[in-house]
């Protein structure tokens, strides 16, 4: 029988577009200290450290070595995972494996990115296997632009719906002290008049580049119950890889290949007895690089029926006071320190389950929440978090 594992401490930085006042290790240290303070633990209580970061965004080979003093990893086991947008949950998954197996009883999971260091889009472009996908230098933006155009065509959603998602995200972000972009948007018109970046994506339709770090402390059951009165249990973790980039197509546009989100979520729900997603799960923090993507992801994660993702925002279901809040933190479109982004998704779900999300605490009582991450050629990682097992 595998050990039960819970999140017992959560810490994150105030995500910003630029952090000239700190270097990478100093940025990471802010999140590490915050998580230790939250759990009322010392670094000596942490047995291993698992890190999530993409080397090419900061241009540092072996960033985990650079931060080994500031993240407490010095003379302790652990490793770094670089798996694009899924890294934060991929590293959490590894930490969970080690604790489940009884190798360690405590671990820290750290995601970080300091995107003011280099050109993120240029770095992402190298994800296309360079002997094959070269010459399509659009990073993530081009792929999400095509997905948005396709979603518009298939689902009947309009740019007004996308703008409603963006407005909701900003309203949430303005209530979250850690969020990066807090624009104070007043109406959908504010979004609709922002300039096009790559059609049909407008500047405000896409996520920013953020500097930020997030740390989670996890512990096995006996320890967890001693550390905190409010452990947040990691009920399950699923990840599914898509076939690698073919022609640079981010998804299978004619429906021949299943979406990794679909496979991952169906597996997660089945394994955990979830038969009615919006009843059995109380909220979600998903990796939505664009507002269009949020509507699409709601469908492939089965939060709603196909082609109805835009109806969820139209009916006001996904806001902080809604019946099924999606990204009450403001989401990725408000803050995107890539290596930390999925870690933040888990942290935010944990805070909501604990009732500690403060000014952006959702109205619905959150007993179960799902955090998701998306990376590379549409692969998916999902975590189910619960108040009690």
């Amino acid at each position: 029988m595998a050990n039960r594992v819970a999140i017992v401490g959560v810490g994150q930085t105030h995500h910003r577009s630029k952090r000239p006042d700190v270097n990478v290790p100093e940025l990471v240290n802010e999140a590490v200290r915050a998580a230790l303070a939250d759990a009322q633990m010392k670094m000596k209580d942490i047995e291993a450290v698992f890190v999530s970061n993409m080397e090419m965004f900061e241009g540092i080979y072996l960033p985990d070595h650079w931060i080994a003093d500031e993240d407490g990893n010095f003379m302790k086991p652990g490793f770094k995972i670089a798996a694009g947008g899924t890294s934060g949950i991929a590293s959490a998954k590894e930490g969970w494996h080690f604790l489940s197996a009884g190798i360690f009883d405590t671990a820290m999971l750290i995601g970080f990115e300091k995107l003011d260091s280099g050109d993120t889009t240029a770095a992402i472009t190298t994800a296309t296997t360079l002997a094959w996908g070269k010459g399509e230098a659009r990073g993530a933006i081009g792929e999400f632009a095509k997905q948005a155009a396709n979603y518009m065509q298939q689902s009947g959603a309009t740019d007004v719906h996308a703008a409603m998602v963006r407005l909701k995200a900003d309203q949430c972000a303005c209530r979250n002290e850690y969020a990066h972009l807090k624009l104070g948007l007043k109406s959908v018109d504010d979004i609709l008049k922002s300039p096009f970046l790559e059609w049909p994506l407008r500047l405000l339709d896409f996520c920013p580049q953020s500097c930020g770090a997030c740390a989670l402390i996890i512990a096995t059951e006996e320890k967890a119950r001693k550390i905190t009165k409010k452990p947040v249990w990691i009920a399950d973790v699923v990840s599914v890889h898509q076939l690698p980039f073919r022609a640079g197509a981010f998804c299978d546009l004619d429906g021949r290949e299943p979406y990794s989100e679909d496979l991952a979520s169906v597996k997660l729900y089945k394994r955990n007895g979830i038969t009615n997603v919006r009843r059995d799960i109380d909220m979600a923090e998903i990796y939505e690089p664009s507002n269009w993507e949020e509507m699409f992801l709601c469908e492939v994660f089965h939060f709603c029926e196909k082609n109805e993702g835009w109806k969820m925002i139209e009916k006001g279901m996904t806001g902080i006071e809604g019946e099924f809040p999606v990204n009450p933190s403001g989401g990725v479109i408000s803050s995107n320190p890539i290596g930390a982004t999925p870690t933040v998704r888990m942290a935010e779900c944990a805070l909501q389950i604990r009732g500690d999300a403060g000014t952006h605490q959702v109205t619905r009582d959150v007993k179960a929440a799902v955090a998701t991450a998306l990376g590379g050629p549409n692969w998916t990682a999902m975590v189910l978090l619960k108040r009690s097992l």
């Binding site: 000239p20 230098a137 155009a149 096009f196 076939l243 073919r246 022609a247 197509a249 004619d254």
Partner: protein, 158 residues
């Protein structure tokens, strides 16, 4: 909490010229040479599921078996399944500069069932639509270094 700038912060700038040279490998090389020398698209077929693999490679990801050397010539015609066009030029690390684009680009589903991403000849945005039929226009002198090196763009057909 981000500190208010109360002092001069030091930045260390660094340009990193890292030239790379990738081996295309046995399977991609075959495709690239066919494109360069005969203006043809080719790929290999999985001996188990009989599906065409794209791009050609040594393992069928679905069946997890060696894909072998049963080569098939592909049509260079297809239909647009998704498109976009860049409004703000992005940094292209392969070229080391921001590259404005004249042509929209699209994901194209070839008639034999594989995707390619390429530019479209049609610049009039109002004439772009999903489902439009297109065919590759080949460069006169291909270099054999990849799809975009040898295919100029896709032209709207009938």
């Amino acid at each position: 909490m981000a500190e208010k700038p109360s002092q001069e912060y030091v930045f260390v700038s660094y340009k990193l010229p890292l030239p790379y040279r990738w081996a295309a490998g046995k399977y991609l090389s075959k495709l690239y040479k066919e494109m360069r020398d005969h203006k043809k698209l080719v790929t290999n077929r999985c001996p188990q599921c009989r599906q065409l693999i794209w791009p050609p490679e040594m393992v069928c990801g679905r069946c997890k078996v060696r894909a072998g050397d049963e080569w098939v010539e592909l049509s260079d015609k297809g239909k647009v399944v998704g498109y976009t066009y860049m409004v703000v030029p992005l940094w292209d690390p392969h070229k080391g500069m921001r590259v404005p684009e004249e042509h929209p680009y699209a994901t194209i589903l070839l008639d034999d069932g594989m995707y390619v991403v390429s530019r479209l000849e049609e610049k009039d945005k109002s004439k772009l639509k999903v489902g439009m039929r297109v065919q590759a226009v080949w460069k006169e002198e291909g270099r054999g270094h990849g799809l975009d090196e040898d295919i100029l763009y896709f032209r709207t057909i009938g």
